[in-house]
Every structure is written in structure tokens, then in C-alpha cells.
Amino acid sequence: MNRRSWLSALGVSAAGRLSGLAAVTDSQANKRSWTLSLESFRVSTADQMARLHSYLSGTYLPYLGHVHQGPKMFLEAIVAPHTPQALVITAFPSFDEMIEIRNKVAAHPGIQRARMDMESSDSQILVTASDSLQFHFGPDGRQGGILELRSYHVPGWRDRPAAGARAAFERARIDPILTASAAGEHLPRFIYLVPFGNLAARQEAWDRLEADSEWSGLEAKVTGASIYKLAPYSPLS
């Protein structure tokens, strides 16, 4: 992964991380949307995770990097409805480009062979604004911590969370590195990817949010949550 080329693909400055949730403005850059592919790979037993990681780091990631310069994050579930599981998050400038890249990847003989050994995989498609991505380069920044993928059903929100939600998150010191809306069932559904130092910090943060009266007034209902750790080979964190 070349830092400069990756940033060029996103069309944002090379000033460290991508602009964050707290920095939402009406600038042209912030209006750009991204299509996110969240692809989960499952195996039946924990001792098969080494094989899965070998596939993802040795076959999948190199070829994906060859055909797609955009951001990629590799995670391993530590608490999720389906485990053992690895999750790959990939961002694309458009839905059409995502389809094109995924077709290329699926057609690769090495990947076809490897996937025959996988128990199962599935994916969901999210849409986000570029200002809602805060991925870091390299895995070092979040090694040792956890990341939570958390989804909410909030009938009152439209294509993005209400401003009050962002403010409540800030007061609770919750800083998502991804905020997106989802396609599919139980819409409108909103997805956050939130880093925490550990489980205790996570619990304290959500407790602060739950105690926030403005947040409570939004009547956001949690529809799912999974906790991950970063895979050592993840290009982004």
C-alpha cells in the first residue's frame, strides 16, 4: 500500500487520517459518498482461523491490492453472533466500481480455490460520506485495542445520523472511525465502527451515552453489535 496513491484515490489531503466525524462541514469533499463492502468469512472452529488468516493475508489481500487501491481493513471477531469470523472492510468510490472489483476478485483462480475451503461468507453494503471515514494507515495505531461494529435502527433519521447524535457521541467521548447507512432490512439502519482501548473503556463510553438525555430522546435502538480486533496484516486501522 502506497500512502500517497491511496490518498489520491480518495481525493483528500495527505494530512494524516481522513477528515473525521467531528469535522463535518458542507465542503465539496464532505459531500462525496463511498460504497463500503463488509465481507465476513467464517470457519467452523477456532483452530481454522490460522488457515483463514493465511488466505486473507497471503492470497486475498495481495490480489485485492493489485486491482484496488482503496482503503481496506482486516478484522478478527472476538465477540460476534457468528464466530470464528474475519471481517474485511473495503471502500470504493462508487457502487459500480465495487461490483467491478469484486467480480475481478471472485474470478481469480487462486481465490476461487481458497474459498472452496471456507465454511461460508457473506457481505453487506454500506454507504458513507468521505468525511465519515477516519481510518489510519498501518495497523500499529490500534493494535491491542478493540473495534466495535454497532448498528442502530432509528426511524427518525434519514440518510445520515442526526446532528444530535453526533453531539451525544462527542459528549460520551465516542469517536467512530466509520459512520455509514446500510441497505437491506430494518431500514433506516446506521452503522458505526468505534475503536476502544479495551472492554472496560467500551463499557464506560456506552454507559456515558446511555446516560445522555439528548441521546435517549433520539430513541435509537441497537440492532446488532460485534467486537473485533485488528488483524496484524491489516493495511489500515
Binding site: 467452523s44 477456532a46 472476538i78 465477540v79 473503556a201 453489535a225
Partner: protein, 501 residues
């Protein structure tokens, strides 16, 4: 943010075996996904013919503020498991039939009742890769080990039962199918509890508890009972907890399993033989109204008094109220022309009735494939669907108490606070081998052909052979049970393998 934790399966099954090794290649983990059949890659027996034990693996799942989060392992939590196994058969009442409440005590002349109870007490393991043994229990001064617990690298709990070792310190004779004074076996059961402390969060939380039963081996893993323990305890949940099942059954998930189990009984009893072949005509659905009705009309209505004969109706298995039909006490019952058979559960019967009336979801795309994922409810279902759910009389994995008497906190989860270790096995035969010997075809009906096959095929014969051939007495079954063959799927057939008698 409040977490709650539950242990699954809510009732787990660890089967005994006379292979004494505690190393993972020498035992195997029982089914964890419904519809799957476990065939150990190294066989059900080792090269010397010793039967490997089947471990029950328990997992913890977490909910946060009611939202299902997933499995909790040692990667995110410190888990302390506690298990208690006990065998209290010899101190309990004799068995003379369901509903007989004033039966005398077994070993009534023994005043020190505790000497009849094999109660090594609870064992606790904290963290992964631990082990503890239930090796301090005694029966009238004779040590009787009941098995052990282990934790694996992820912090799952593994329970392994006893060794199929039954005996009598006083060399008492074996005289009845259910009540043999002076005898013990080493099946057992007991509560499984756990405390969970999420890493970095110092408050331990007690998980909702489970139960483990450690019954005899399952010799016919590819054959499911027409009424499984899952079916029986689902009915318990419907009757006692107000649990509701879908009003319109699915052909694939509800009807087909009943038909398929009936068809596959051909592999474990010659009395069925090819008589159930016509059931294949209603697969795939919808079949004709007449075809469906002819199947349904052949079923006994569970509303009929259990002791009433319903000649030629199905299933062709004995009633749980066998004692009331014949008034038996002890071993030996008349083989008469009675056809007092055991009906499907009311829920199963309703499924078939709706199907016959055309009120079903035609979701057929072929025989269902097992799920690829382990799920909490799937763990419980996989454990229970491999056990007999009736007739019990008195039971092979557990007794009718589990269906009819014991309290539940939710479907399939017993109220451990109101039960003691040993309660789920105490009413079964002592030793188990005597009832297992007796529960063969008893004209005109079978008992548990999926637990104790009546007749089987071998790899070299196209004719039925008696499965327990060569065992001619209670003592033979006590001494040589491990020589019996296991049934495996072989192409379209189910055949006996690994017989070492």
C-alpha cells in the same frame, strides 16, 4: 450496559465409553449442529475395541441490554466453570411404571443411604486448558469414577462421563430390568454453572446454568428417534411455559423430519422393513390429499388414553404406560396381542394433521442441509434430538421426570435451583445394561430401535441380523456391551461397523 450470559446447550449430552484416555484424539465431541452425525475420523472404538467417550462441549453466549452479542470465550473473559456429577440411582425408588408414586426404595435394607449415592461433589476450573476429575465418589465403599471436566484453549467446557463400568460389591444377582439391589453403574448427571468476568470489567456475572447428562453410548447415530427428547421437551415448553410454535408448519423443517425418521427405521428393525417405503410417495410435497390423509390416518391420536389399544396405528413403539397395560412388577412381561403404542407428541401430531389438511408451507427445495454455523439454540437442539423422547419406561438418556415433572426457567433450560445432581438419571434402570438388554422388539411393538437397534444390516449381508446377537443375559450386556457394533451411513444404506464381539 448490562450483560447477561447463558450456557449452551442448556442440556448437554456426554456419553460414556470404556476408553479411559482423556486426550482429545481418544474422545470426540457430540453433535453441535442439528441434523449432523458425528463419525469420529479414528472410529467409535480404538484398535482394541474400546468405545471412545463422547464429550459434551458447553459454550457461553452473551447479551448486552437484550441484544445478542455472540459467544464469550477466554479471549474476552475470565470464565470459571463448575460442574457436579452424581449417580443416586441405588438410593432412589424402584421403578414400576410412570405414575407409580409409592414404589419401595431400592436397597431398602441399607440404612446408610448416603453409601448408595456416588457423589464426588462439584469440580471447578478457571480459565483455558484446565481439568478436574470426578474420582472420589464411592458406592458402598467401592470407588466409582464418574468422569471429568476439561477446558479447551478457548475456554469452552468439555464434560466426559463414566466408563460403562457397572458392578456389585456384594456380587448380587441381576434379576430385573430396572431395579437390581446391590448394583451400581457409572452414568450420571448434574448442573453446569459458570461465572463470567469480562476482561477489564471486574464484576463477575453468573451465567444462566445448564445441565449435563452422561448416558450410555449412541450406537445408531444416523438414526433419529421418531420422538426425540427435543420433541418431548418442546411439548413440555408448550404445555407448561406457554411456548408457541408456528401455526402453519413448514414441510421441510417440520413434516419431512417425521416422515424421514419413520422411513429410516428400516435400518434398525426388521419389523418395519420396507413397510414405510410408501411414505416416500409424499415427498416431495404437496402429494395428493388422499396420500397425505392415508399417512395421517395411520397415526395414533395423542389424546387417546395411553393404555388403550389402537391396533396397527403408528408409531409402532410401546406406550410409556406399559406397566399399566400389563400390571408388571420387575422383569418379564407377557407378550400379548396388545397394541398400546406411544403417540407422537401433540405438537408433532398437529404438524401432521395440518399437513394432511393442506395447511403447510411448501418450502421444499430438497432435503435440508445442516446449518454451517454453531448457534445457541442449535447446540441444544443437536444435543436433544439425539436422545429418546419417548417411550421412556423408564428411559435411556434421562427419565420421564425430565419431561413431566422437573421445573424449567425457559424452554429446554431446567431450574437448577430446584434440582440436585443425579436427579435426571436416578429413576433409570440400575444398572443401565439390564434395561438396555430388555428393550428389544417385544411383540408386536419396539421400544427404542434408534437407541437399541432390533435388527441391522452388515457390510457383507443383505439380510437382517439381530444387532445384539451373542448377548444372551443381563450379565452378558454388563460385561460385553462395548463389543456391540455402531451403525454408520454407507451410501444409501445404514450398516453395522466396528462390532467386536
Amino acid at each position: 450496559m448490562a450483560w447477561t450470559f447463558k450456557i449452551f446447550p442448556s442440556i448437554g449430552v456426554a456419553r460414556i465409553g470404556n476408553h479411559r484416555s482423556s486426550s482429545p484424539p481418544d474422545f470426540y465431541v457430540g453433535p453441535e449442529i442439528p441434523g449432523t452425525v458425528i463419525v469420529p475420523p479414528n472410529g467409535y472404538k480404538d484398535s482394541s475395541g474400546q468405545v471412545r467417550r463422547q464429550a459434551a462441549r458447553f459454550r457461553i453466549y452473551g447479551w448486552e441490554n437484550g441484544v445478542f452479542m455472540g459467544e464469550i470465550t477466554s479471549a474476552v473473559a475470565d470464565i470459571t466453570w463448575t460442574v457436579e456429577l452424581a449417580n443416586t440411582k441405588a438410593a432412589f425408588n424402584e421403578f414400576h411404571g410412570i405414575g407409580h408414586t409409592n414404589d419401595p426404595l431400592r436397597n431398602a435394607s441399607v440404612t446408610d443411604r448416603s453409601s448408595l449415592m456416588i457423589t464426588p461433589g462439584p469440580r471447578t476450573i478457571t480459565g483455558p486448558n484446565g481439568s478436574a476429575f470426578f474420582d472420589t465418589g464411592q458406592f458402598q465403599g467401592t470407588p466409582v469414577p464418574l468422569g471429568e471436566i476439561q477446558t479447551d484453549a478457548s475456554g469452552h467446557l468439555l464434560v466426559l462421563g463414566g466408563f460403562g463400568s457397572s458392578g456389585s460389591p456384594t456380587n448380587a444377582p441381576l434379576t430385573t430390568f430396572a431395579n437390581n439391589d446391590g448394583w451400581h453403574d457409572d452414568v450420571s448427571d448434574g448442573p453446569v454453572t459458570a461465572t463470567v468476568t469480562l476482561k477489564g470489567i471486574q464484576t463477575p456475572v453468573q451465567a444462566s446454568g445448564a445441565w449435563v447428562i452422561c448416558p450410555p453410548p449412541r450406537f445408531a447415530p444416523p438414526i433419529f428417534h421418531i420422538i426425540t427428547l427435543y420433541d418431548a421437551l418442546l411439548q413440555t415448553a408448550v404445555d407448561r411455559l406457554g411456548y408457541t410454535v408456528p401455526a402453519t408448519p413448514s414441510f421441510t423443517n417440520d413434516v419431512y423430519p417425521i416422515l424421514q425418521r419413520a422411513i429410516r427405521y428400516q435400518w434398525v428393525t426388521s419389523k418395519i422393513g420396507n413397510k414405510h417405503a410408501p411414505l416416500s410417495a409424499v415427498i416431495p410435497p404437496p402429494a395428493t390429499v388422499d396420500q397425505r390423509n392415508s399417512v395421517f390416518q395411520a397415526l395414533r391420536d395423542p389424546a387417546i388414553t395411553p393404555t388403550v389399544d389402537t391396533p396397527h396405528l403408528m408409531p409402532a413403539i410401546w406406550t410409556d404406560f406399559f406397566a399399566d397395560v400389563f400390571g408388571i412388577r420387575g422383569h418379564g412381561s407377557p407378550n400379548t396381542g396388545h397394541w398400546a403404542n406411544h403417540a407422537l407428541t401433540p405438537t408433532q401430531y398437529s404438524v401432521m394433521k395440518n399437513w394432511a389438511a393442506g395447511k403447510f408451507i411448501n418450502d421444499w427445495v430438497g432435503p435440508p442441509s445442516p446449518d454451517t454455523n454453531v448457534t445457541p439454540d442449535g447446540l441444544t437442539r443437536a444435543a436433544l434430538e439425539n436422545c429418546s423422547g419417548g417411550p421412556f419406561f423408564p428411559g435411556i438418556e434421562t427419565s420421564f421426570f425430565t419431561r413431566d415433572v422437573y421445573p424449567y426457567v425457559e424452554p429446554f433450560r431446567l431450574d437448577g435451583a430446584q434440582l440436585k445432581a443425579g436427579d435426571l438419571s436416578k429413576q433409570q434402570a440400575v444398572p443401565w445394561q439390564t434395561d438396555f438388554f430388555d428393550c428389544v422388539f417385544q411383540s408386536p411393538l419396539s421400544w427404542w430401535p434408534a437407541a437399541h437397534p432390533d435388527d441391522v444390516f452388515t457390510a457383507t449381508s443383505n439380510n437382517y441380523v439381530t444387532w445384539d446377537r451373542g448377548l444372551n443375559s443381563f450379565s452378558d450386556m454388563v460385561n460385553f456391551w462395548s463389543g456391540l457394533g455402531f451403525l454408520v451411513q454407507s451410501g444409501d444404506a445404514v450398516i453395522e461397523t466396528e462390532r467386536t464381539l
